[in-house]
């Protein structure tokens, strides 16, 4: 494969396509053309993403050529977005589910490629496999058996023929990120490997020294990786040049946090969540901190969704926040009060959030009010991908698979305010409803009890308290 790779290798795909984790290499999680709520469920397709613990990676579908592509534990499956039928599936070495990427390599026929990682063994709750890192990436590794290192695989989207494969140095849960003609992928041993998209050759290999287990962002010839330590040290966000892997800067926040989430980079700013319950904005060119915004809980479930005037993050307790991209000031928040595992997605004027309760919710991005919600059946929802005429949601649990939704012209919107907004009327009414009867009942019960029991008898009842308060203890000279 002697194709010539240009920096615009992926330009053949529509700019608005959801070809990677959170849409593209920037992880902005924003699309302008999409179905608007209300939505309705059109199809459900079973796939093998039923690892309910998801300590082995978070499945996230990507969309290309009318198919939603999901990396299962032992398969890569493409589901037709319009009908929900399986377009194709290829076997995969058992390993963590991580987002795939779709890209077009210019030259040599311009393959539309699907890239995914495989292998790494079973890391679900019943996993026992241990990793044995190798010193450098190699071309070895073959399908059919579970191995404890991951391999990056590129296949032709049309024929599913393997184009190249490259074994990594450890288990990978980041999934590949494609920017221009380069694919970058992280591994649990703290390495980031950059591979040329067309040829599969390793361009550079950088050891960041810590675990890299969240999707890597890329923009303007720089990649941004979150790295965290297994030895109670602070996490970092590291910027590396795409051409040679040279470290541009390393942002190590002043915090007690141990984990950083997946970064997103938009308009010269890198956004990242930390396990101390904060969101940090860092200048993409210098690595200097621009602002910090405090959340109510940990929010390392996914990359912040970023548009021109909004940064949207979701914490693990299910509270959605819209922040000002320039200052980090909180514009609104909405407490869903259900676990949320994946990032939010911005579609038009709505924020879509897949909930652990099995509901998909849409919030008005201007006000933060919930404008639509629908249960998609049994099983926690994980992540969302968006096509021009469909929304695809990954679901785990007993009915693991993908759910496809489309606009519902006959559906109705709702107007639900966040429970974090004080509503004086209902607040007072609920208080009075509870307090008044309860106090009356308790006092009556007390009278009954005290009549039944009579006064207590103490050993020295001849020395009672003084009820006047004008003399006695205060004059006794005691001090405390």
């Amino acid at each position: 494969m002697a194709g010539i790779v240009s920096a615009a290798a992926a330009s053949a795909l529509p700019a608005d396509a959801w070809t990677q984790y959170q849409g593209g290499p920037q992880h902005a999680g924003v699309v302008s053309v999409s179905p608007a709520p209300p939505l309705r469920s059109r199809w459900q397709a079973a796939t093998g993403i039923g690892d309910e613990t998801h300590i082995a990676g978070l499945p996230a579908p990507v969309i290309a050529g009318g198919d939603a592509i999901i990396v299962d534990r032992e398969d890569v499956t493409a589901i037709d977005v319009a009908t929900g039928t399986m377009s194709w599936t290829v076997p995969r070495q058992l390993g963590p589910s991580a987002p795939a990427a779709v890209a077009v390599a210019v030259g040599d026929g311009g393959h539309t490629m699907v890239l995914y990682t495989e292998g790494g063994g079973d890391r679900s709750s019943s996993a026992t496999a241990a990793s044995t890192p190798a010193p450098t990436p190699s071309g070895s590794g073959s399908p059919g058996t579970a191995v404890v290192r991951s391999t990056l695989v590129a296949i032709d989207a049309a024929s599913r023929q393997e184009l190249w494969r490259r074994q990594l140095t450890d288990v990978s849960t980041t999934g590949p990120t494609v920017d221009g003609g380069l694919v970058v992928v992280g591994a649990d041993d703290g390495t980031v490997t950059a591979i040329e998209l067309a040829s599969g050759k390793v361009r550079w290999h950088k050891d960041l020294g810590d675990v890299v287990d969240t999707p890597i962002a890329a923009d303007a010839a720089v990649v941004y990786a979150s790295a965290h330590s297994n030895t109670r040290q602070r996490p970092s966000v590291v910027a590396l040049r795409e051409d040679a892997g040279v470290e541009v800067w390393r942002y190590t926040p002043n915090t007690s946090s141990l984990v950083a989430g997946a970064p997103s980079v938009v308009s010269g700013t890198v956004y990242v969540t930390l396990s101390d319950g904060t969101v940090r904005a860092v200048a993409a060119d210098t690595g200097l901190e621009r602002w910090i915004s405090k959340l109510n809980a940990v929010a390392v479930g996914g990359a912040p969704a970023v548009s021109g005037d909004a940064v949207v993050v979701v914490d693990t307790r299910g509270e959605v926040y819209r922040l000002d991209p320039a200052t980090g000031a909180r514009r609104w928040d909405f407490a869903l009060n259900t676990p949320v595992y994946g990032p939010a997605v911005l579609i038009g004027s709505a924020v879509l959030v897949a909930e652990g309760s099995g509901e998909l919710s849409a919030l008005d991005s201007a006000t933060g009010d919930r404008i639509w919600r629908q249960s998609l059946g049994v099983g926690p929802l994980l992540t969302v991908a968006v096509a021009p005429d469909a929304v695809v949601v990954a679901r785990t649990g007993a009915a693991a698979g993908l759910v496809g939704l489309a606009a519902d012209p006959t559906g109705a919107l709702i107007d639900e305010r966040s429970p974090t907004i004080v509503m004086p009327g209902p607040l007072a009414l609920d208080w009075a409803t509870a307090a008044i009867p309860l106090v009356v009942i308790l006092i009556l019960a007390g009278r009954f009890l005290i009549l039944r029991l009579g006064p207590p008898e103490f050993e020295r009842d001849d020395l009672p308290l003084d009820g006047t308060g004008d003399e006695g203890w205060a004059d006794d000279g005691g001090s405390s």
């Binding site: 928040d333 429970p419 208080w431 106090v439 050993e459 006794d476």
Partner: protein, 319 residues
Amino acid sequence: MSSRRKKQQRRPAPSYRAPATPAPAPRKGFLDSIFAPRGPSSVPMPKIRTSITRGVATVLATPALVAAVPVVLMIEWLLRPAFGFQGPFTILGATFAIPPISTSTDVSLASNIFSPVGATGPGAALAPLAAITAFLVVHAAFQALVTTVAVERMRTGAVSAWNVRRAMHVWPVAVAVAVVNLGVLIVANFVQLLGGGIGFVLAVALLVAGVYLFAFAPAISADEELSLPVTMSKAVRAARLPGSNNLTLAVLYAVPSFALLLAPLPGSLIGVNPSAGAWAASILVNVLQMAAVAMFAFRYLAIGASVADAAPPRAGRRG
């Protein structure tokens, strides 16, 4: 209360009560009481069931206390969203709790609301430390007032305005108990670093010890004229009376109280508009917390005469 009854109840000045036992040489600090030999083994400590019944009856038979609960809860709740707190509402379940139950929620709340974003070092601790202090002092005032009302109610069968003035006397002791229990909480946090089951069990044991050793202090202060160190010392000795089952009672109080803070009661979600069910649950829990305060007061009043103001000298120690 009639003036005749008040006169009958007046005790001779200037001494409130004669020492129950010959006063031994005073010791330095209340820690001596922890390590001193135990007191007499035969004490008239009420049974646990009797104590609980008396505590509940005392609080429920005092309408001012029962009515105060929802009012205080509403005021506290309205203040918290103003500082950016969004829940869960169940944290109010420890408003009238005994330290370190109340102390733990004070620390949690102060850290949640007042920790400066992204700051580390001593400077970053100032705001939460000030907030913790404020919360401790306010909740100590609640405990002092409830204790004083309970003591007066049990001693006289009625409640008068006197207890407000007496609560001012008890307040410093309640603050001291909260501060000591703050230390217990800090140690418990370090102990949890041991990890696994051992760390957790030791941490819970420390929190139980905080209740066990100091729960009597406010009642002693409400009932007797003693200095702060002597009050704390006497609380420890009262707790350690053999055969009193105080440790059992401390476990029975502390463990469910902590569990209640974590339980999925109504109001355990994020939100600032608690439902009627959440209000009802919080009111009930706080009435029970008040009853626990009254219960410890009742138990102390029952055995106060058997507890010396100072620890007996250790065997082998001269002088």
